[in-house]
């Protein structure tokens, strides 16, 4: 699917297939890819995390504020990740102990957090500033190792770790089991509430990581950063073959889904398609891909 899309786009516009554009595509995809990885965990368990956009924005804002005040870059990164994880854990608790539907719980937090960002930032962008730490911090988003941007390495690392967790660890097995049949998993002696909290914590952490990447790249944290990002993330996960019902899906699928969306976004920009039509085009592609996938999967 990815190959087909890329070929079609290259034919339509040769400017697509040059090295610097490919680098751009990969770099731009890395943000969504990271969020989508966390989202995969949430959807695999039969839930969803709508709050990722706001977590991204909030952690990015806090990171910018911290780094511009002169704190050590390692501390800032860890703090931002921790904040994202904590928010995710909070989401998880709302869903398990509070008994809220994931859709509702994360709908609540996305609004709450977006408000928090506005309060914190007073509606103004927060620059990463001019401290020595700031340069190191910005390097995370803008730097290269060899010809490849650092965010791309981070994306690959995230994919590998997520793949390992889901396919080779106990918690990964529990995630698939809980998503497939929560009651049976609970009866088998597994604390499904812990599994859920873990999953949402991961999603929050990934959103925080994405926030760090964006803020580092842009050099400042916008109060609207991340708004609407959950949709691209969910699209990537669904395109990748993960079922909204839970229990079925892979990281490889999400990776491909994220790349398709990244390629699409890039191509539509290159072809100078109006941004209004971009969403229409994306929506159509997603629907076609999912329908084709369904047809393949059903057998008599």
């Amino acid at each position: 699917m990815l190959l087909v899309t890329s070929i079609i786009i290259t034919l339509l516009n040769p400017r697509f297939l040059n090295w610097s554009n490919i680098v751009t595509v990969l770099r731009q995809t890395s943000i969504n890819a990271v969020i989508a990885t966390g989202m995969t965990f949430a959807i695999l368990i039969g839930g969803i995390d709508l709050s990722v956009g706001s977590v991204l924005g909030l952690c990015g804002a806090i990171a910018a504020a911290m780094i511009s005040s002169g704190m050590n870059v390692v501390v800032v990164v860890l703090a931002a990740l921790l904040l994202g994880t904590a928010i995710g854990y909070f989401n998880g608790t709302l869903i398990t102990a509070g008994g809220l539907q994931p859709f509702i719980a994360t709908l609540g937090t996305v609004t709450l957090l977006r408000g928090a960002i506005l309060v914190f930032s007073q509606g103004r962008p927060i620059s990463v500033g001019n401290t020595p730490g700031s340069d190191e911090f910005s390097g995370i988003g803008t730097g290269f190792i060899g010809p490849i941007p650092i965010p791309v390495y981070i994306m690959i690392l995230v994919f590998l770790i997520a793949y390992y967790i889901l396919n080779h660890t106990r918690i990964g097995r529990y995630i698939y089991a809980t998503g497939s049949n929560e009651e049976a998993t609970m009866y088998s002696g597994i604390k499904t509430t812990r599994v859920k909290r873990f999953v949402y914590s991961v999603s929050g952490m990934m959103a925080a990581l994405a926030g760090i990447l964006i803020t580092a790249r842009l050099g400042s944290a916008q109060p609207t950063a991340g708004s609407g990002y959950e949709l691209d993330a969910i699209a990537a996960v669904v395109l990748g073959g993960t079922s909204m019902a839970g229990g079925i899906g892979t990281i490889a699928g999400t990776a491909i889904g994220a790349l398709i969306i990244g390629v699409l976004n890039n191509a539509l920009n290159i072809m100078q398609v109006s941004s209004y039509y971009q969403d229409v085009a994306k929506g159509i592609v997603i629907l076609i891909a999912v329908l084709l996938d369904r047809k393949q999967k059903s057998s008599r």
């Binding site: 097995r173 698939y176 497939s180 009651e183 049976a184 609970m186 088998s188 597994i190 229990g247």
Partner: protein, 498 residues
């Protein structure tokens, strides 16, 4: 003379090269009840799914009233007058009984408005006909499983089907409800309708059926009239060998008390007290609504309890989750494998090891899959689980083999006390015996067993002692040598027995 309504000839069905039905002939006669029997995995479900249009046959032909027909989808089969009542209920829990019965065929006015009073009145007529004592406006989720099954039957009957296929219809019915069902079946016969009766309960088949077709391993073994055959012969046809003893029972040494439950009380059970000795097999009998499953789930940590104590080897224990229970060595095999016993979308290996993954864990939480494979293969062999391999998804296994996987999962945790909840429900004769043999093996290894069962002969045949429950309370205890079907039933209905 017999009037042939449906004739399935030389039916063969393969899935990706795996042949599950081979050259099967199946007849349904007008106004008669045809029993369809066979071990799980024999092909009964597949054959019926072909008849109801869920599957398409690979070879063969189907004739309806001597005319060739093709059922390419469920609708064409329904329109031909074939209805099926599934073993697992297909009702919408949040809708009322009436709405469920008329789902998709609601009586509407010319403007499309649903005529509710007509719907509920008509629904009530069907309920009355079946002797189901409920208001048709009652929500399905609020009535017992046994009654829900009767609603399913009402639904099929109300579509005026000519052929009604009933798959294990009495699984969750009380004896009274079963009697009503049989009288309804007789009425249907007199109306010229035909019934296909799929069941493992051979006694019932002799009560209600006219003919019997036996399948084994996807092939037709034979069709006979009921008056020309007996139970043993049917069993022989089903398993291909003589069954010497239906309930093999062995004596074991029974030791001291291992589990003591005292005055256990919560929203389901009241002041339940009993003891279990080491090596003992305690049967728990009772009718629907006796809350036996709820008692077991309380002990296993799924439901909390407000009052009472549980002692394991004289030490008081507090169980607040299945994890606690398993850590204490108490395992529970569920009575509803589809909802909470197995995970259909995962394979055999993943299902069996699910409760014991810590044993296969290595560095950084890494799960050793080859070790898992070796362990699960051992259980597959020892328990004769029929699967193409450890990678086969559970949803492709027959009911009996799924049950064995569920038991294997509990076994792998090395329990000292194994609670089996309806272990042979929906399981064929051959697999039943295998499960009884397994129970004996566990007994020999010193395991203590609690077995909840609605099959009184089974309870009498396998258990050392029987606890009978009635509406959440313990009605009484019976030792094996003093228990009879009558005395168990008396306690089950709450009669005082001296």
């Amino acid at each position: 003379m017999k009037d042939l309504v449906i004739s399935m000839k030389h039916i063969t069905k393969s899935f990706s090269g795996v042949r599950v039905l081979k050259d099967v002939n199946f007849n349904i006669y007008k106004g008669k009840v045809m029993a369809l029997v066979g071990e799980n995995g024999a092909g009964k479900s597949t054959l019926m799914k072909i008849l109801t249009g869920v599957y398409i046959k690979t070879e063969g032909e189907i004739c309806l009233n001597n005319k060739l027909v093709n059922f390419n989808n469920t609708r064409s089969s329904q329109e031909a007058g074939i209805a099926i009542i599934h073993q697992e209920l297909n009702l919408v829990q949040d809708l009322s009984i009436g709405e469920n019965i008329f789902l998709g065929r609601e009586p509407v006015s010319s403007t499309g408005r649903i005529l509710w009073s007509k719907l509920y009145d008509n629904a009530q007529l069907w309920l009355d006909k079946l002797g189901l004592n409920e208001n048709s406006q009652e929500l399905v989720k609020n009535i017992s499983v046994g009654k829900q099954q009767l609603v399913e039957i009402a639904k099929a009957i109300s579509i005026d089907a000519k052929v009604i296929i009933m798959d294990e219809p009495t699984g969750a019915l009380t004896p009274t409800e079963t009697k009503k069902l049989f009288s309804v079946i007789n009425d249907l016969k007199n109306d010229g309708k035909s019934i296909v009766y799929i069941s493992h309960r051979l006694q019932e088949i002799f009560q209600i059926c006219d003919d019997v077709t036996v399948l084994r391993d996807g092939e037709l073994i034979g069709e006979r009239t009921i008056d020309k055959i007996n139970e043993d012969e049917i069993i022989e046809m089903m398993v291909g060998r003589k069954l010497n003893e239906q309930y093999p029972r062995i004596e074991t040494n029974i030791g001291n008390v291992i589990l003591k439950v005292e005055n256990l009380t919560n929203q389901y059970v009241k002041e339940v007290s009993f003891t279990l000795k080491k090596g003992e097999t305690l049967g728990v009998a009772g009718l629907m609504g006796s809350e036996r499953t709820e008692l077991m789930r309380t002990i296993y940590g799924i439901y909390p309890y407000s009052k009472g104590d549980i002692y394991l080897n004289s030490t008081k224990i507090k169980v607040s989750s299945p994890m606690d229970s398993l850590n204490f060595g108490i395992a529970y095999v569920s009575e509803d494998r589809k909802s909470n016993g197995i995970i259909s979308e995962m394979n055999v290996r993943e299902n069996i090891t699910l409760s014991s993954l810590t044993n296969f864990q290595g560095f950084l939480g890494f799960v050793n899959k080859s070790k898992e494979d070796i362990s699960s293969k051992r259980y597959i062999e020892e328990m004769s689980i029929k699967a193409t391999g450890t990678n086969q998804l559970l949803k492709f296994l027959s009911g009996g083999n799924q049950q064995k996987v569920s038991i294997a999962k509990s076994l792998m945790t090395n329990p000292k006390i194994l609670i089996l909840d309806e272990p042979t429900r929906g399981v064929d004769v051959g697999a039943k015996k295998e499960i009884y043999d397994l129970i004996n093996k566990f007994k020999n290894e010193g395991m203590s067993i609690i077995m909840v069962s609605s099959d009184i002969p089974e309870v009498l045949g396998i258990c050392d002692r029987i606890m009978v429950m009635h509406e959440g309370k313990v009605s009484g205890f019976l030792d094996r040598n003093e228990a009879t079907q009558e005395s168990i039933m008396a306690l089950a209905v709450g009669k005082e027995v001296n």
